[in-house]
């Protein structure tokens, strides 16, 4: 069986959940080989984690030459690994960085690229959600090695014992790839809440909150969910951009999406329309968000949210 390369999504060696989803998908296509571009000292640790989800091999690419630069060196490393392993496919997390690595790689190895897949079948057919979630598209790479970036929550991670054999891979990074340097980096502060794109429950606030995100956060905490926002709330400076949901923010597809004080513009829908269950609180019964909901409350969020939070806390006991 051919190898399937899976680029590990991690922050300083801490493996992020989408990696396990990608490994689960990779098993449908061939033999999962995880690729860790990071500190080689962390390689063994990372291998322990990914082998539980079926990684047979773990290529450890030391990032001494790679860290500190934007995507180009990572694309070179993957190109060299692809040449060495002739994989059946290359799966990359659908983050901004992941998509750019994939873009460069696709040109380098003259291979088709599919971005933002929400499912990948055994024959490589992908499913994507397009036009703000209004259409579902099935597509396939027809030339070269399929390169597919996969969105978080596209598969339930399945545990499966893999050998997890560590193999150091020395990538050659060209000077040309070092053109764009990361001059400074400030890691995002942890909120203590689930990661927005991975959360099972998301509570989002819009312009209608009037900047009162405490009641949004209160409900999110009572439900054990993440907090999100519309662009209007971000543009008003009430909450940082990383919490924005929509076309130019994050796409979420949780089990439950709670929209509060959000009208439901097409660009916002683009980031949440595929949520399993959608509820909304909005004082305007004509708000387009009500076209999407499974359950809606027409009312003032300033009274409904605190009452709901109290009710949830009480029922959870």
């Amino acid at each position: 069986m051919s190898e399937v390369l899976v680029l590990i999504d991690h922050v300083d060696g801490a493996v992020r959940k989408p990696t396990y989803e990608l490994l689960t998908i990779a098993k449908r296509l061939g033999e999962p080989s995880a690729v860790f571009i990071g500190g080689s000292a962390q390689g063994a640790d990372v291998a322990e984690k990914v082998k539980k989800y079926g990684a047979e091999k773990v290529y450890v690419v030391d990032d001494a030459q790679i860290k500190g630069y934007l995507v180009a060196p990572k694309a070179e490393a993957l190109q060299q690994l692809a040449e060495k392993t002739s994989p059946a496919a290359i799966l990359i997390p659908s983050t901004m960085e992941g998509k750019e690595i994939a873009g460069r790689l696709a040109i380098k190895i003259e291979s088709g690229l599919i971005t933002d897949a929400v499912d990948v079948e055994a024959d490589g057919t992908t499913t994507q959600s397009v036009f703000a979630g209004n259409y579902t598209v099935k597509a396939k790479v027809t030339t070269g090695t399929p390169i597919i970036t996969v969105k978080p929550n596209s598969a339930a991670p399945e545990e499966a014992a893999g050998a997890g054999t560590v193999e150091e891979f020395a990538a050659t990074v060209s000077d040309a790839a070092k053109g764009a340097q990361i001059v400074a980096s400030q890691p995002r502060k942890a909120t203590g809440r689930p990661e927005l794109t991975e959360a099972a429950i998301v509570v989002a606030g819009g312009r209608g909150t009037g900047g009162n995100f405490e009641s949004v956060e209160g409900l999110a905490d009572a439900l054990g969910g993440a907090v999100g926002a519309s662009r209007a709330a971000v543009d008003s400076g009430w909450i940082p951009h990383t919490f924005q949901i929509g076309q130019t923010g994050k796409t979420v597809s949780p089990q439950l999406y709670v929209a509060t004080g959000i009208s439901g513009a097409i660009q916002h829908r683009a980031g949440m329309q595929t949520s399993k269950t959608i509820v909304a609180v909005n004082k305007d019964e004509e708000a387009p968000i009500f076209e999407l909901v499974d359950f809606g409350v027409v009312g003032d969020l300033h009274t409904v949210l605190p009452a709901l939070t109290e009710e949830v806390t009480k029922r959870k006991g």
Partner: protein, 266 residues
């Protein structure tokens, strides 16, 4: 400075967007416009020109697309770009991102034949395909560094510094021109064309190039040689109408809690 801004002509996102029978995006039946996210790219290019003092800097708007796509170039000219290039050729229809980036790269090379291009500015993503990969592909094809997803841009001589919200950190990226830059909708509102701008745009140079002008073989682009194939497009079934209640003296919160409990969220 020689700046090229890549602007895409896209179907209006607020209209009923659809696919053709060959599964390509319907670019004719639906009203189109300059992709809103590329307006931010035009804006930043114009600001860079203004900061550089104007005279020695040229901003060229470049679009690859069908006949009607010239509207996107015109809009950029009305906003203040100095000249426009529209690459139009029947063979381009149905191109995927890889082929589009090839045509854009050849056009950038031709645009820089006399005076080299220092900066290629793109939007963060197109509002139709929404892949966000063309800037990276273009950088790869032109063998240039990419500085993407910028929200704040500063230049000093040939040095470019941008601030951006990365996936896990806020970063400052530095690189020397020439390079490919992409900007987000956090970079600042785009200007509206003024009446004067609209009048002036009519006299600005606008060239139309074919694939032959770029030295690109028709067999390298288009639907039939795309590296990916769309097998099927399906309209998402409309969501079944949910239950909507009016809140009266706290009844809304209780009803919603009942719903969440029934769905096992609490």
């Amino acid at each position: 400075m020689n700046i090229v801004v890549c602007v895409k002509y896209v179907p209006d996102a607020t209209a009923d967007r659809q696919f053709e029978s060959d599964n390509t995006v319907d670019r004719v039946g639906v009203d189109g416009l300059l992709s809103e996210l590329d307006e931010y790219a035009v804006e930043q290019a114009l600001q860079l020109k203004e900061k550089a003092g104007g005279e020695d800097t040229t901003v060229t708007a470049l679009c690859v697309g069908p006949e009607k796509a010239v509207d996107a170039v015109r809009k950029a000219l009305q906003m203040g770009a100095d000249q426009g290039i529209h690459v139009v050729d029947d063979a381009v229809a149905g191109s995927d991102a890889a082929a589009t980036s090839l045509v854009l790269a050849k056009a950038v090379e031709k645009a820089g034949a006399e005076k080299k291009v220092d900066l290629v500015v793109c939007g963060m993503a197109s509002t139709d395909a929404d892949m966000g990969v063309v800037p990276a592909m273009l950088a790869e094809r032109l063998s240039l560094p990419q500085v993407t997803l910028a929200s704040v841009i500063e230049t000093q001589g040939d040095q470019v510094r941008v601030k951006r919200d990365g996936d896990t950190a806020t970063e400052v990226i530095g690189a020397a021109m020439p390079l490919v830059l992409s900007v987000t909708d956090q970079s600042g509102e785009a200007r509206y064309p003024s009446f004067k701008g609209i009048m002036a745009a009519k006299k600005k140079p606008l060239e139309t190039w074919s694939l032959a002008d770029l030295g690109v073989d028709a067999g390298q682009v288009g639907l039939s040689v795309a590296w990916t194939e769309v097998a099927e497009t399906t309209a998402r079934p409309p969501r079944t109408a949910g239950e909507i209640v009016k809140d009266e003296d706290g009844s809304g919160a209780t009803a919603l809690a009942d719903f969440l409990a029934a769905k096992k969220f609490i």
